[in-house]
Amino acid sequence: MANKTRIKLPDKTAVGDVIEIRALINHVMETGNRKDANGQVIPRDIVNSLTVTFGKVTVFKAEFGPGISSNPFVAFHMRVPGPGELVFVWQDDAGVQTIERAPLLVG
C-alpha cells in the first residue's frame, strides 16, 4: 500500500527561480536495530530512496539509511526550467513504491 505523502512547492514561480521543494512520506523507518518483547530483532524496513524527476531529468535523488527519522522529510532546491510536472518516487525495503506527482506552475 502506498504511504501518505506531503509535497510543498511554492505557489508561484518564474523561469530561472531557485525554489525550495519539501517532501515528506509517512513511514515507520524501522532501523533493524530494535528488538521486540521476545528479544527478536524487528526486521529493518526503511524508505531507502527518494527520486525526483522533472520531465526526463532526475533533478534530485536521496538515499536514506536507518539514521533518518521516521516519516522522512527532505527539503531540496531546483532551478525552475519552465512549467511541468515533478514526479516523486519513494522506495522502501519492503518493495513498496510510492509515486506522487506535483505540477510546477510558472508565471
Binding site: 531557485v18 525554489i19 524501522e30 532501523t31 533493524g32 536495530n33 530494535r34 528488538k35 522533472f54 531529468v57 532526475t58 533533478v59 534530485f60 535523488k61 536521496a62 538515499e63 536514506f64 539509511g65 536507518p66 539514521g67 533518518i68 527519522s69 521516521s70 522522512p72 522529510f73 527532505v74 527539503a75 531540496f76 532546491h77 531546483m78 532551478r79 526550467p81
Partner: protein
C-alpha cells in the same frame, strides 16, 4: 539497549591508525553494504601495489572531530570508501547546521549547504551525511545536478548519543569538502522507544 547491539570494543583513540589490510577489508564490506562497488573497483588492487611507505593510512585525521569523542569503526570504514585518496578541504564553503543540543535523538533537524555556482562546470554532485556514533554510519546520501540550482538539503536525522556529525560534499571539479559538528544528545534515538 538496542543501540548498543555491537559488542563493546576497546576504547578508541581519537586518531586511529588503520592497517591497509583492515582498511581494504573494511572498505570492501562497506562498499558491499552501500552498493558502491562499481565506483571504485581499483581500490583493493591499487592498495596492493602501493609502496611500503604507505603502510598505514589515517583517514580519520582528515576530518576534524571534537576532542574526547571517538568515532565508530563503521564511520572510519564509510569515510574511507567516500574519501578514497582525496584530501578534503575543511569547512567553508560547506556548512552543516545542527542544533547544539538535541533533547530527543529521534528527530534532529540538519541542513547541509554548499556555496556553489551550480553551473555545468562547477557543481556539487554528491552530499553525504555521516554519524560517528550511530550503529550505521551512513545516514544519507544526496545526488544533485546543476539544475538543482542550490546545493542545500535539509531533513531530520536520528542520533544514538552525543557525537560528531560529519557532512561531505563532492564537487564536479574533483574537490572534496568536509565539515563536522558536535551535538549533545540527551535521549538517544536510533529506533528505541
Amino acid at each position: 539497549m538496542s543501540c548498543d547491539r555491537r559488542p563493546p570494543v576497546e576504547p578508541q583513540r581519537h586518531i586511529k591508525i588503520v592497517s591497509r589490510r583492515d582498511l581494504v577489508l573494511g572498505a570492501s564490506a562497506a562498499v558491499a553494504v552501500i552498493g558502491l562497488l562499481a565506483s571504485r573497483p581499483a581500490l583493493a588492487a591499487g592498495t596492493e601495489a602501493a609502496p611500503a611507505a604507505a603502510e598505514t593510512v589515517v583517514p580519520i585525521s582528515r576530518v576534524p572531530l571534537s576532542e574526547g569523542l571517538s568515532a565508530s569503526r563503521q564511520f572510519d570504514e564509510a569515510l574511507g570508501v567516500i574519501l578514497k585518496d582525496a584530501e578534503p578541504a575543511v569547512g567553508e564553503p560547506l556548512t552543516l547546521t545542527l542544533p547544539e543540543l538535541a533533547e530527543n535523538g529521534n528527530v534532529v533537524p540538519y541542513t547541509i549547504a554548499v556555496e556553489s555556482p551550480m553551473t555545468d562546470n562547477d557543481y556539487v554532485h554528491t552530499l553525504h551525511l555521516l554519524s560517528t556514533a550511530n550503529p550505521q554510519a551512513v545516514v544519507a546520501t544526496f545526488h544533485l545536478i546543476p539544475a538543482t540550482g542550490k546545493a542545500m538539503v535539509s531533513g531530520r536525522m536520528r542520533l544514538a548519543k552525543t557525537q560528531d556529525v560529519v557532512a561531505i560534499a563532492e564537487v564536479s571539479t574533483g574537490q572534496v569538502l568536509v565539515s563536522a559538528r558536535k551535538i549533545e544528545v540527551t535521549i538517544g534515538g536510533c529506533g528505541n522507544e
